[in-house]
Symmetry: C2
Subunit: 161 residues, 2 copies
């Protein structure tokens, strides 16, 4: 990459990709089509809503589930049985829980890294950006759903020792 940035191990990415598809299918009946994962170089704005959760163990990391308002409302409706009138606490709880499930099931597939997940937090706001530490280039995995685009970003650093 022409930088001092640690290369990400591709084997780490696949569990997040498959777990995102499985979680959306199981929890919201929502079929995702995956796009091509890429290294996020810049700091382009995320979608309007970002679920953020930390991982720590033999690797430390952050997972961000990012999606726009229409998708967030439809996914919440699919999970709760009623469409929320706006981006309220039901929506943030739903997106936080989906983020938690994706990170939780992916880390179970990365057992050798012995990671545990933190509490999720959910960011809402037009044009917000989520920056990772400068020495981490997160991998962005784009998905399409019937309600609009979704993106999962994963930054991980293996701990030394």
């Amino acid at each position: 990459m022409g930088s001092t940035c640690a290369p990400i191990n591709v084997e780490f990415i696949n569990p997040f990709l498959t777990c995102t598809i499985n979680v959306f299918r199981t929890m919201a009946g929502c079929e995702l089509t995956r796009g091509k994962p890429y290294l996020r170089e810049g700091n382009e704005p995320a979608h309007e809503i970002s679920g953020v959760i930390g991982l720590s163990g033999k690797a430390i990391g952050t997972v961000v589930l990012s999606l726009g308002e229409p998708v967030a409302l439809k996914v919440t409706a699919a999970m709760l049985g009623e469409e929320p009138p706006e981006l309220n606490g039901d929506v943030s709880d739903t997106i936080g829980e989906l983020t938690n499930m994706i990170a939780g099931s992916a880390k179970a597939q990365l057992e050798h890294l012995a990671m545990s997940v933190s509490l999720p937090s959910v960011i809402m706001g037009r044009n917000h950006r989520v920056a990772f530490p400068g020495d981490i280039k997160p991998v962005a995995i784009p998905f399409e759903s019937q309600w609009g685009p979704i993106c999962v970003e994963v930054g991980l650093r293996e701990q030394i020792g």
Copy 2:
């Protein structure tokens, strides 16, 4: 609280309060005056920049360091020796690192919870909001500095078993 929300143990808050003061003093020569901690009930907008880091172990949690653009630029200048022209990667790395130091030194004082920290991420964007899970009421600790207000929010849940 009239809700099902788990009460936060106040002993958990003091380490974050003292560590924030120590980290800003040591790293940026910035003296903070603490305000009165309170339970954050609503979802009011954070300051423009939020450093977010996860904790996991016998408790899981999230720590958010929130501050406005002028404070973030001055703190970065104090730490790097040069004021950045805008909210660039130097600023996000600095705020992420401060968040990491606050969480890292506070968890060392909460040794019985055996927590480890995740990677920090840094959110930038006017009027963004950071939501915690609905069953967690984070404690907000406000501070004043010579450059403007700073807030640290801590949400923690002890793990059962």
